[in-house]
Subunit: 213 residues, 2 copies
Amino acid sequence: MAKYPKIPEATIRRLSNYLKCLENLENKNEKVASSASLASICNVNAAQVRKDFAYFGEFGIRGMGYNVKELKNNIKEILGINREWRIAVVGIGNMGSALLVYKDFLKQNYRIVAAFDIDPVKVIGNISERMGRPVEILHIDRLKEVVAARKIEIGIITTPPQEAQKVADLLVNANIKGILNFSPAPVRAPDNIKVRNLFFTSALDNLVYYLTN
Amino acid sequence: MAKYPKIPEATIRRLSNYLKCLENLENKNEKVASSASLASICNVNAAQVRKDFAYFGEFGIRGMGYNVKELKNNIKEILGINREWRIAVVGIGNMGSALLVYKDFLKQNYRIVAAFDIDPVKVIGNISERMGRPVEILHIDRLKEVVAARKIEIGIITTPPQEAQKVADLLVNANIKGILNFSPAPVRAPDNIKVRNLFFTSALDNLVYYLTN
DNA sequence: TATTGTGAAGCCTTTCACAGCA
DNA sequence: TGCTGTGAAAGGCTTCACAATA
């Protein structure tokens, strides 16, 4: 732990973005990117780009720029995503089902290795089977057992909002390390568990604010 | 426009969060919330909460706190979401279909009034029909016409990443005002169009960074 | 008395400007 | 020459501490 000195949170957020942009450049067969070109793609200042990287090392070549592939790998290592992360999805409705087959997770080494619902039989009949059922849907009662057996570290919540906190508690009890909550009700967990609440409406709210003001 | 003075971007982001927390409190029949209680739920400093609101007016009662319902309405007005916003979803795969029936959008006055795909016939046979088809799936060629006819202001992109920029260009051409991109490829648009790229993996990347470091 | 609203201080982040280097 | 890496300056945000007040 504490592999790096104190890094601005905003820098960490931007790293993910740089990564997506670099993958894009790689797909276009671009080998090199300058801080200026990355900055323009990501809507930030070029000095910001250089400073963000400089927290972690000297990744660039003066007079040249950054090697796209190398920089990509460096960012992955910084973020800790240069290895597989095993994930459980809880709540296999429409959104949960969509995530089970979401292609970008696979590409990024995020592996959904278990799926849970309160009513797996119904779910299989309704949605998941039609999507090719990438993982078996299990009853929520088996959460703790399966999280341990399959070495799952992250839980994604895609239940209705009324169930979200209950599921979060179950995940904590199952010794999960981190929770990503897609349901529209904020969930809490003890301080040693990292929680991210991702509200779809927040992205729209933000957009709308800047459209209005 | 410019209804308010210069507000920190972070404040706008937090307002959405306060709103979700207030809705939660309202569901629990809480009538009043103090800056301290909101702060603890939202993991911010109490002075921060008060300052965030103070940019826009005096919403609280000294010695008492904030009236949950009033504060909720004030935030909605600030964000500009105290009216209906009409939305088109482009790309009706698993994620697009899930958004078409996403309940929290309805609750928040976000109305998906059109859905587009390159192959509406196939989509209807595959996914959307099974979800009760809340809106008719139209061919992407009709985008511009339908955006105008239905007074659509926001476009959501849920296509595969290779198509995302093309769709963004079509939305711009259709005189959309804002774009929310759910595909994992960043899209760009002229400065007068507001764009938000929402990458699911970014939320995981962030979580993983703090799990690792 | 309890809690808001807020000026001022402190801290953190961004940007500038240029030295350093391939 | 051109672009990175970085110290210093500028700017912005958060927190403190307390006056205001229901």
